[in-house]
Subunit: 344 residues, 4 copies
Amino acid sequence: MTVTAGILGATGAVGQRLIQLLEPHPDFELVTLTASDASAGHPYRDVAKWRIDAPIPETIAEMTVRRTDPDDIPDDIDLLFSSLPSDVGKRVEPELCEAGYVVSSNSSNDRTAPDVPLTIPEVNAGHLDVLEVQREERGWDGALVKNPNCSTITMVPTLAALDSFGIEQIHVSTLQAVSGAGYSGVSSMEIIDNAIPHIGGEEQKMEAEACKLLGAFDGREINWHEADVAASCNRIPTIDGHLENVWVETRDEITTEDAAAAMRSYESLDLHSSPDPLIHVFEEPDRPQPRLDRLHGNGMAVTAGGLRETSNGVQYNCLAHNTIRGAAGASVLNGELLLRDGWL
Amino acid sequence: MTVTAGILGATGAVGQRLIQLLEPHPDFELVTLTASDASAGHPYRDVAKWRIDAPIPETIAEMTVRRTDPDDIPDDIDLLFSSLPSDVGKRVEPELCEAGYVVSSNSSNDRTAPDVPLTIPEVNAGHLDVLEVQREERGWDGALVKNPNCSTITMVPTLAALDSFGIEQIHVSTLQAVSGAGYSGVSSMEIIDNAIPHIGGEEQKMEAEACKLLGAFDGREINWHEADVAASCNRIPTIDGHLENVWVETRDEITTEDAAAAMRSYESLDLHSSPDPLIHVFEEPDRPQPRLDRLHGNGMAVTAGGLRETSNGVQYNCLAHNTIRGAAGASVLNGELLLRDGWL
Amino acid sequence: MTVTAGILGATGAVGQRLIQLLEPHPDFELVTLTASDASAGHPYRDVAKWRIDAPIPETIAEMTVRRTDPDDIPDDIDLLFSSLPSDVGKRVEPELCEAGYVVSSNSSNDRTAPDVPLTIPEVNAGHLDVLEVQREERGWDGALVKNPNCSTITMVPTLAALDSFGIEQIHVSTLQAVSGAGYSGVSSMEIIDNAIPHIGGEEQKMEAEACKLLGAFDGREINWHEADVAASCNRIPTIDGHLENVWVETRDEITTEDAAAAMRSYESLDLHSSPDPLIHVFEEPDRPQPRLDRLHGNGMAVTAGGLRETSNGVQYNCLAHNTIRGAAGASVLNGELLLRDGWL
Amino acid sequence: MTVTAGILGATGAVGQRLIQLLEPHPDFELVTLTASDASAGHPYRDVAKWRIDAPIPETIAEMTVRRTDPDDIPDDIDLLFSSLPSDVGKRVEPELCEAGYVVSSNSSNDRTAPDVPLTIPEVNAGHLDVLEVQREERGWDGALVKNPNCSTITMVPTLAALDSFGIEQIHVSTLQAVSGAGYSGVSSMEIIDNAIPHIGGEEQKMEAEACKLLGAFDGREINWHEADVAASCNRIPTIDGHLENVWVETRDEITTEDAAAAMRSYESLDLHSSPDPLIHVFEEPDRPQPRLDRLHGNGMAVTAGGLRETSNGVQYNCLAHNTIRGAAGASVLNGELLLRDGWL
């Protein structure tokens, strides 16, 4: 039985990736697209400035875009994927959940709310059960699940793999692609022959979300991980793929061999969009690189390399495709988890 | 009285910057250029692929290039600036010092030798006196002084400014420009829409050189600073200007105001190429940026910004022009210090 | 005696270049800056997102921005430089001229109007006298003079130099920098690892403006040149500097030596901002290049190279700095011409 | 029955693309790889700096590289694909053909020799029969077929489509990707924030090859097309995909509708690598663009757009993937043609 799905905010960069991933998806049938009022009522083809290097799927191109409004969304949609701007998401997503819809959202609002699961399925699928608390406390028939920020998703699988050594401190420096800011987020005059050492709120997001993701759910509450996380975020002139330099300080001794083995053996899930292995560790010291490695595992794998021992842990580099594993693919994967665990 | 000067390895990227800085220099008269045997005997114009965005100075363009060989260098040169490949420098520089020449070198060989001063004049001018040990031990009439690696120079002035708070640990992530690898060091296919998280030996250079630079000279020996330094180096698609994310853990408590004040009030020197102030601290959170800020202080200033308090210190970003402050200008400045302190 | 000057639209990319050129200018004293209503009333520093790689001049930084409205502009301004969006220029510039102001404008409106001089001073200074017709017909006390589009300016000096051979046909293909579209004109996602073979209306502007510029003024009318011009315009990932491939078909026979000699000997003017020579012709076949050559003559020279004979003329490449010679500097130069010829 | 195939010069940029295309090819079985003497004897994985954004096929990675020498190539190879440097190709290819091998070559040597077919199968498959003349005159058992230069291939299908209107003159300006120069052909310092209006010999190649390709084979000789072709070639900062601005002057009148219809209906072939349609014509005025459109038809289609009428013909833009349709894919397609026509 197919699950009917819709996309909230279907014209933006993440919305377009959602279409690319959902159109051929075996479990979901994409039947509804919403966008701003200005776009509503028009065929998708006419209002989306399609910027993916493959054509718009024909069936999608002709779909009429709807308003991002509970009244304009059909009742029989099983699952809504949300890539709304966070201010819109903050307002609309709770309305939709109250109206009974299940929402898998990439928007940054409510990610750290105690009763909202923030999940990377291969890392903390168990957190999904906080939805029971959510329904109980909010009186919703629907449900709201979030995926983390793209820069957080890139590093967290590697951290989860290393946490058996007892992570105490994390330093992370990011080299982020321009697509993370949306189609008009970074102007060419800002970034050609340049780098920008600031992305508003990004460092705070990474520091908080990582601790929530690595935390333990005790049946009622998610107890955040107590590692000290310090992030420094940079935008560089790459199209797709966030590269990160990570230092991890651990309670137990750890060698580069230990770290590589832990990453390589970290288990993936048997979900349609989960790659196997989840983390690919390069031997070559100059990998991963954004242009060469962002499409590993169809853009859903995390790649790592450059492992070195430090005085109290290890350092390494990791990379993921920011609009696939880091955004659209993350939401789709959460949708697959919702389906597997019986929430749809 | 003018000091006569020569450049060893004058055709490369750093050699060209040396020409640009020395030709109008009030203290030095550029009279000799050397290059590889293949270039020797030809006018500079014909063998240098000039790639600076200002014309070759006319008088330089017509100079005949000499071999990089003590026999081919006039005896009456007071000071040689070296931008030789390190394997050539390792062989030729000691020969020249033995033959009585004073060499201010940007090459990476011998930087950590105990009796070779590694200096950033505004930071550790006093280390120059280790030249007495050098002459005594090596029996040289000449002298060899080194400037650090471009990525080390970028951060060390800010670290020196903060060391009154007792630096215990440093994490640094670099976003380095392609010019640091020389004209053909990074191919366009490697770096367009990409970043490379590896520069051979660079992390080790930063970790060692920073401790030597911040060390104390006791009249006989340079006692290296004991801070724990962990560096992660990346190449990104910028032409000039190395940007760095730095975390400093200090013994004493430090606020962002303390850190900014310490940087702003860190003293410069009264040398021709020293900027005043040495460190410019931005209020804007998104600065410094390579393209906008690399020419601060004629490319000799360090700029900083993005200060944030962490659990045990501060984090910030800093930037310097890698082929001016980080290479050619660093050698010239060391030449000015040699002149001021009576070594010429 | 100094001429007091103002800038209409001072916060944009061209407005910032105007400030950079006018602040140290010996003839003009910059006393007024205007911008949109949202910016009016604030210090320039706070409303301009300054993006030039040199600091804002201090005196300018503190100036209070005014509204772009005749009522808000002081009466005693001698000359207004306009870098308004063309729809605003179309409305406001005639109002200002009617109110008695002399306006040197870079905006694209009214460039091909018969009684509006469109001038590159070194090429067609004589066209300025059509201002008498303008005042007569429009009943203005002020005056409106225009400079051409940046892509037109780049090629026209070389065409003027070759026109003694009788130009009959011109093909031109442009490789234009992103700054030509303003700070937010081209998003990074559109242009990294890409080129866009379309700039709305640009080809038509080049085709029309070139014929007007190369035309003859007979005392009453500007008789447009009858050459057939075909332009193809492209945006590429460069910051500044428009590069153009030009083919010229001439009535008379022409060799590459003829063409180079004609360009090199083409006369410049004795105006402050005019470079001498106006056109620099390279011998090297791979020049001019945007990054290396855009600052020739302080950004006011045109550079050319790559001359080849074709079956019926010559082909070559030319380049100019699009926001200096192609925009802000062009307006300033027209201001200098207005001053020299007694219109101020 | 499978055709056994080898690659001459398998480690370079085009060699890697050949591997990517041949490894899954239904007609060819890749059994031999050659490279320079320095690489011979080593596993391919160890000597190729693999730079395609998909992993090296496992079976290929372990193959031992051979010397590019007739003595080191197995006798039972049916077809050799050559991506040798042209000076090596000039020497080695005739030796191999004399030794009985059939060679489909991308190297630039011998492309304009009268008895060497230069083919784009969809355009001039019939030229292949000049191989009879070649064998007769040279006494070869083998055969040598060439594909054109990448910049020539990009435009010729569109020209062939328009030639029913009688092409008399062609002007073409190219915006070429860096991969066309091989992995180390263009340094990053040459091309970031820059464009280079010169590619040695490229303009002459385009002018000659286009006339040969569009010529008619009369059974003995290829009579070159008499159109006057003028090319201007530029390198820009894109990774893959050559974009070209073309003006065509025709004997008969032609509208943009005529031109679009002729391109759209131009027939493709029923060969494995031929796309259908061969030419995709965009309605959107700002397409084709390298990053968005280079993978049309798996990188084998030509895309066109921006049609405008001129005084004596039409102008338009066209694009093709330079290392697939323009090089490796072109050689593979010629191999498919050789197979179809019974030369293997």
